[in-house]
């Protein structure tokens, strides 16, 4: 299965349809009560997805440092493809937000790219990726991402867009990454607050923000597991 392009299954599609996409209402998905447009099927589903548990995150930013290091060979929070935002004075759990690329079933960033630099990478089970050689720096993909913070990162140093490729292209890390390989953020997170699935999640927060705190050991620490 490693390199076989994966189309969205009917089951996956129903998950998509079960919730509204942020930035895309259900109405937009079902214009006039019709079935989804064929172009959605033209962008095959990603073979994998990062899931996070924002209640488990400790805000250490280690995932950001690992992401930047593995991809760029240097440390730079602004170049990390996963972003952790926090407010020291706010109360749990609203004090931390984890922003990872959702590898959207219907990716506005891919749609927005005029040069197809942002594409579903067939060599990496269709993870949405940037072909830097084709990127003209128009930033339409950056603007198209409907989430706050946007998951397409503008590399202000090398002047191109970049985004989470599930570590398929990490020239500064010797591990084999990608959908079927290791991901730096998962490997580094000391709280085990990031995980991975091949199943397309529900296209809402609940689908991507999961509970990874169900172990007996976690409960014994006195930290909340619900």
């Amino acid at each position: 299965m490693a390199n076989v392009p994966r189309k969205a299954s009917r089951r996956d599609f129903l998950k998509v349809g079960s919730a509204s996409l942020i930035g895309l209402s259900v109405g937009a998905l079902f214009p006039g009560g019709k079935w989804l447009d064929n172009k959605i099927y033209a962008i095959p589903a990603s073979g994998g997805y990062l899931l996070v548990d924002t209640k488990k995150c400790a805000g250490c930013l280690s995932c950001m440092l690992a992401c930047s290091l593995a991809h760029e060979g240097k440390e730079n929070l602004s170049l990390s493809r996963i972003q952790i935002m926090q407010d020291s004075f706010a109360g749990f759990p609203n004090d931390i937000t984890m922003s990872q690329c959702r590898q959207c079933a219907y990716p506005p960033c891919v749609e927005a790219c005029p040069t197809k630099a942002l594409h579903a990478d067939e060599d990496n089970e269709n993870a949405r990726s940037v072909d830097i050689g084709k990127c003209i720096g128009c930033q339409r993909c950056v603007e198209a991402c409907p989430y706050d913070s946007g998951r397409v990162v503008w590399n202000h140093i090398d002047k191109h867009s970049q985004k989470c490729d599930l570590c398929a292209n990490t020239p500064f890390w010797e591990e084999q990454g990608g959908v079927n390989g290791k991901k730096a953020c998962i490997a580094i997170c000391p709280m085990r607050a990031i995980t991975f699935t091949n199943e397309i999640p529900e296209q809402n927060d609940r689908g991507y923000n999961v509970n990874l705190r169900k172990t007996a050991a976690w409960k014994r620490l006195g930290l909340p597991s619900n």
Partner: protein, 683 residues
């Protein structure tokens, strides 16, 4: 050498001038403390000045590891200068603070900030990448440390919301960030020149010891804010990533499947053994939904954040400042300290104030007049009144803002201190651990400038048997193994007797080596490379079946991956020795002599009366003893000092370094200055 940004920001507040220092000329010192001391030596021309003199030079330094994936070494900030807290002398001192600041300063392109002079009006420093401005702080002055940070966050981002990408500076080439600026600030205590004022960062990080918050107040400096979008270069990214994974797999507390965990649920203090997340509040269990919280790059994440937001990020003694029946009030009292910016260690013994009240010495119309609500002691109302009084120098707070030892001296109650009714064993600093017993801590403190606050041995020799005892366990590591395994890592000495805390052991030649190792290790690895005190060194970890520890392998593994050097552990220790000698020279220029390096009387005269776990070697056997009835012997300690000075290459008659010692470590210019002032040790 990778890891450095290449320039240090130099700000003269008197002239409101901004310039840079080339980092290269100070790279030999590692970073952090070493660089700070070297810069202080060069820029503070009259080292005999008082802390609040405008000539005092304050350094705020990062390390080559700041902003990198190096575990628990990515974001501590070392702050130095002449401190007003130590008593009776205002020594050149240090304090370091966790959180996000040093990483963000690096991302903005700076290895440190040096502050000189005094502004004519309150100011704050706004750093956005390479753009630096000294700004009017009249709108910030009077705000508490939380309010000031939030006001600056709003100002830096034009009042916009965070939680999205924001442009840093003008033009898209400046880059974007989702992060809030990292801000160091003082509260009202610092503004009012309290000697026990801290420099705060985020909710629960403070450069607390030394009173450097008061020094900022004396300079009319409210805050330094930084936001950066630049890069920290790493020599070998793959080696750094793999080293971090090596540490996780071998030594890290696995939150889902720990190898060893507390036998009692929701017992953070057991984390002193396991390093489970959120353990920093020690005796305070989770009482409300919370998360563990870590500084940038941490792998332990010892702090916590609560659903109420009270006491966010607080750790250790600041969490335990005011234990009440209502946990919410305990948390609120801690927040008062953080907001006003008061050093908890200096007023931790507020129970002594209550004793004075009960003795009829403090109160309305008493010898020490006070209208504080002592009848409400134990309730939040008293903590509110006490902290406010200190921050604004009201009531007895006017005296307590001078630091509790100076207040006690003014009140004519030094006899209480000498009897141990209130405990300040060295330089007017709070008794952190028993100075009669845990002596690498107390000896290190009296040979330096403050309570050292270095837990290297302390976790294993004291906390481990204490906590095991508390939960009804035998020590999970025997005293013999503690001595043998720790000493195997005390390169280059490797003598198990260095861990002997018996009545004989604390004056031994082995203890000379122990204290010397400790001073050199912490000066370089911990305070200059800025490895966190609560994570490094690692002599033994219960998170692997063999209980291996990653020291001394881990330190050079990480710093070489970042810097691209081939430095050995031993070479790091030598730089530590050099820094320790430079600090010694600064103190000598301030007037230091061996005759001053003595403890408060109670340390010598009042026997220990509570069980205190430490390993001892007796009759050929190692065991953990509770060490009751122990005092420090004056003559034996003086003899030990002579041995220690000799070991360091210092003149035992004065405690001053010899020229041959200083020249041997590249400090000939320091020897020249000491000689010029008649303060060089005799050969």
């Amino acid at each position: 050498m990778k890891g450095f940004m290449g320039k240090i920001l130099r700000i003269d507040l008197t002239n409101r001038s901004i310039s840079t220092i080339d980092t290269k000329q100070y790279e030999q010192w590692g970073g952090g403390h070493g660089m700070g001391s070297a810069i202080f030596w060069d820029l503070c021309k009259d080292k005999g000045i008082k802390a609040f003199d405008p000539g005092n030079v304050v350094t705020v330094m990062t390390s080559p590891l700041s902003g990198t994936l190096t575990p628990s070494a990515s974001s501590r900030t070392e702050i130095q200068g002449i401190g007003p807290q130590s008593w009776p002398y205002e020594w050149f001192t240090r304090s370091n603070v966790g959180g996000r600041f040093s990483a963000m300063l690096k991302f903005a392109g700076w290895d440190g900030v040096v502050v000189e002079g005094k502004a004519s009006e309150p100011v704050w420093i706004d750093i956005r990448n390479h753009k630096v401005e000294i700004k009017d702080a009249n709108g910030l002055w009077g705000l508490d440390a939380y309010e000031a940070q939030q006001e600056i966050w709003s100002e830096v981002n034009d009042g916009e919301n965070y939680g999205t990408w924001n442009q840093v500076g003008t033009g898209r080439d400046g880059g974007r960030s989702t992060q809030r600026p990292a801000v160091l600030t003082i509260g009202q205590a610092g503004e009012n020149l309290a000697r026990n004022a801290v420099i705060m960062h985020d909710a629960g990080n403070a450069a607390g010891q030394g009173g450097l918050g008061g020094v900022w107040g004396s300079k009319n400096l409210k805050a330094i804010s930084v936001i950066g979008t630049g890069s920290v270069e790493v020599a070998d990214p793959n080696a750094l990533l793999q080293a971090r994974i090596w540490l996780h797999e071998g030594y890290h507390y696995n939150v889902d499947e720990p190898i060893h965990e507390s036998p009692v649920d929701n017992m953070p203090v057991y984390g002193t053994i396991t390093r489970s997340p959120g353990y920093a509040t020690l005796y305070i269990p989770y009482t409300e939904p919370s998360r563990a919280k870590g500084c940038t790059g941490c792998y332990n994440n010892c702090r916590r954040k609560t659903s109420s937001g009270y006491s966010n990020e607080a750790s250790c003694v600041e969490s335990l400042f005011y234990m009440t029946e209502k946990m919410e009030d305990t948390h609120k009292a801690t927040d008062l300290l953080q907001r006003y910016g008061i050093n908890v260690y200096d007023i931790m013994q507020h129970g002594y104030l209550r004793d004075l009240y009960m003795r009829g010495i403090i109160g309305p119309g008493k010898q020490i007049h006070s209208d504080l609500p002592f009848e409400k002691y134990g309730e939040l109302e008293f903590a509110e009144a006490l902290t406010k009084a200190i921050a604004f120098r009201e009531d007895i707070g006017a005296d307590l803002a001078e630091g509790m030892p100076r207040a006690i001296e003014k009140w004519g109650l030094l006899d209480d201190m000498n009897k141990g009714l209130v405990t300040f064993p060295n330089w007017g600093y709070f008794e952190h651990y028993d100075p009669r017993l845990e002596i690498e801590w107390s000896y290190g403190s009296i040979l330096g400038d403050r309570d050292i606050n270095e837990h290297d041995l302390n976790w294993l020799v004291h906390w481990m048997p204490l906590v095991c005892d508390a939960v009804g366990q035998e020590p999970i590591v025997s005293a013999q193994r503690v001595a043998e395994q720790i000493s195997s890592k005390l390169v280059i000495y490797n003598d198990p007797m260095m861990l002997d805390y018996s009545e004989e052991g604390i004056y031994s030649d082995a203890k000379v080596k122990m204290v010397s190792w400790h001073r050199h290790y912490t000066r370089y690895f911990k305070q200059s490379m800025l490895f966190c005190d609560w994570a490094w060194p690692n002599f033994l970890s219960v998170n692997n079946p063999e209980m291996k520890g990653f020291t001394p392998e881990g330190e050079p593994k990480f710093l070489n991956a970042v810097m691209g050097t081939n430095m050995t552990f031993e070479e790091g220790m030598e730089i530590g020795r050099k820094i320790w000698n430079l600090d010694r020279a600064i103190w000598i220029m301030q007037g230091r002599h061996r005759d001053q390096e003595v403890f408060n009387d109670y340390v010598y005269d009042v026997p220990t009366s509570a069980p205190y776990h430490l390993p001892i070697f007796k009759d050929g056997q190692w065991s953990f003893d509770v060490n009751l009835g122990r005092t420090l012997d004056r003559d034996k300690f003086e003899d030990w000092k002579s041995k220690y000075y000799t070991h360091e290459g210092w003149d035992p008659s004065s405690g001053w370094p010899k020229r041959s010692t200083l020249e041997g470590i590249g400090l000939g210019y320091v020897a020249d200055e000491l000689a010029k002032n008649g303060k060089l040790g005799r050969e």
